[in-house]
């Protein structure tokens, strides 16, 4: 079987990508100038506000706590999801045992989790990290499980026939074949973690990007709200670039390890 290739993502973006982005920004500017609504400020106004708001004090008061919470929640989800997903993909019985519970929990909307998290974990970071981890767990888990499950059985049989040990089969056949789908899940979850971070910070908070955006909404500080949303987009973009770097390393390492194969 062929090793699945990694999808070149944002880093493959060239001038065209930025041109399209600029087109989007330009369209916004024109539309908002035409509409004149207070809820639809111009890009110029948002950029001015952005520069004024995102100075060091606000960055350390809101952005740092958010990123820490997200990192913890996502890390927890990545670890649990990968291990549990691979285990469920490998052992059918475990899968059958856990599947109903997983499907049940997965369908629980994060906003509904918040009262429970507040009651059990309090108003500190723990409850937010829990909500983030809980919500971003499922795409990783499902993709890891399906990835393991979709590995060509014939490949495994062949590898065994060639005398590869179980560990070698796992490393050389199952892992490389699973990796792309696992990473697809990790990537989806990164988005989910970002989104849940915002939702989780909207209750029982006094800081964080989610709180900042919600509070700006409540204070009718519309340009500030957009400045928060834009920063969210920008951070999401940067986190994704970092993610792709890691993904590239890991997957090329796997390709390298496969190349040794006779």
């Amino acid at each position: 079987m062929r090793t699945p290739r990694r999808l070149p993502g944002i880093r493959s973006a060239n001038w065209m990508g930025w041109l399209v982005f600029l087109g989007f920004v330009g369209a916004w500017e024109i539309l908002s100038r035409r509409s004149g609504s207070l809820y639809f400020p111009t890009v110029t106004r948002i950029v001015e506000t952005f520069a004024a708001v995102w100075q060091l004090p606000n960055l350390s008061a809101h952005v740092v706590p958010s990123l820490v919470r997200m990192g913890e929640g996502y890390g927890l989800a990545a670890l649990t999801g990968t291990v549990l997903g691979i285990a469920m993909g490998h052992w059918r019985r475990l899968d059958r045992f856990l599947e109903p519970l997983v499907e049940f929990l997965r369908a629980t909307p994060p906003p509904a989790l918040i009262p429970f998290a507040l009651l059990t974990m309090g108003i500190g970071d723990a409850s937010k990290v829990f909500v983030i981890a809980f919500s971003s767990l499922w795409p990783i888990l499902l993709n890891a499980r399906d990835g393991v499950r979709n590995v060509d059985q014939a490949m495994i049989e062949t590898a065994r026939m060639f005398g590869l040990k179980a560990r070698e089969v796992a490393m050389r056949v199952v892992a490389p074949a699973t990796m792309p789908q696992l990473f697809a899940g990790l990537r989806t979850s990164l988005g989910v973690a970002f989104i849940t971070m915002v939702i989780a910070e909207m209750v029982g908070s006094t800081n964080g990007l989610g709180y900042f955006i919600l509070n700006a909404q409540r204070l009718f500080a519309v340009p500030e709200m957009y400045a928060g949303i834009f920063l969210l987009g920008l951070l999401g973009y940067l986190v994704n670039v970092a993610f792709e770097r890691v993904e590239g390393r890991v997957l090329s390492w796997h390709r390298g390890s496969r190349a040794v194969q006779p």
């Binding site: 399209v20 639809f40 109903p100 519970l101 795409p139 697809a184």
Partner: protein, 261 residues
């Protein structure tokens, strides 16, 4: 394995979780008034079901969810196939997609309300926005990973580009797409419910919010339980559909190969 045993296997984890919940609440580790035991939640849910109001709410939620998901499918899959196949498109849209994707639907709901109003359009547009990303990414990944040898072979055998797409590319991406559909389905349901909580005249999200505001905690958890069940059933439905689609597609592929050979 005997079927009864499998049945037990399947539900043991759920039964276990429910028992733990009951115990935690009954013993008072968590205050039963604010975290009611499942027995009370179930009684509340049954009483509410008998008034006949909940099925109406469930129907509202389901239709909004279905519209959001179908729209996400109609947008996400073709777009993903394009991005997976056409390098320049992938490059051109990468920045915009990566900037939009991390923006949560909750943050854009006020904007959506302003532009689209408070009707169903707003709710299903928001659901579609959130649900499209997993589909888009899984489809792109899957399509991009089609074996180039297969594609070249199909070309050499004189398949037209669209035939290559339908007979080689899409079938090989299908497992990825299927996973994307299931993730998107869950996202669509969650976002629909969230939007109903924020602005709604009906739907299970509205029901949960209203019972919460009324201080009826068992009823609120009853609504959440129902949402979980709904998500579970929808996922099962999708699984069954997925199995069929995969079998059908593989069957079609097999025939195509026979014809081609």
């Amino acid at each position: 394995m005997r079927p009864e045993r499998r049945g037990f296997d399947r539900w043991a984890s759920v039964v276990g979780a429910v028992l733990v919940w009951e115990a935690v609440s009954q013993i008072g580790i968590l205050h039963p008034a604010f975290f009611p035991p499942p027995s009370r939640v179930l009684v509340a849910l049954v009483l509410e079901l008998r008034t006949g109001e909940i099925p109406k709410h469930a129907w509202v939620t389901l239709t909004a969810y279905a519209r959001g998901l179908v729209l996400a499918l109609a947008v996400g899959i073709p777009w993903g196939v394009l991005l997976g196949r056409v390098r320049s498109l992938r490059r051109a849209s990468a920045v915009l997609i990566e900037m939009l994707r991390p923006i949560p639907s909750v943050a854009i709901i006020p904007v959506a309300i302003l532009l689209l109003g408070i009707g169903e359009e707003m709710r299903f547009a928001v659901a579609c926005y959130a649900a499209v990303w997993p589909l888009l990414f899984n489809t792109t990944y899957g399509v991009y990973n089609t074996d180039p040898v297969l594609v070249d072979t199909a070309r050499i055998f004189g398949f037209a580009p669209w035939e290559v797409l339908l007979r080689v590319v899409v079938p090989s991406a299908l497992p990825f797409i299927a996973t994307g559909v299931r993730v998107s389905s869950a996202v669509a349901l969650i976002v629909t419910v969230t939007a109903e909580m924020v602005a709604g005249t009906g739907g299970l999200g509205f029901y949960v919010k209203a019972t919460e505001l009324g201080g009826r905690i068992p009823e609120m958890y009853g609504g959440i339980l129902l949402l979980g069940t709904l998500g579970y059933l929808l996922n099962h439905l999708l699984r069954a559909a997925e199995g069929r689609a995969l079998r059908w597609y593989r069957g079609a592929m097999g025939r195509a190969e026979e014809v081609g050979g």
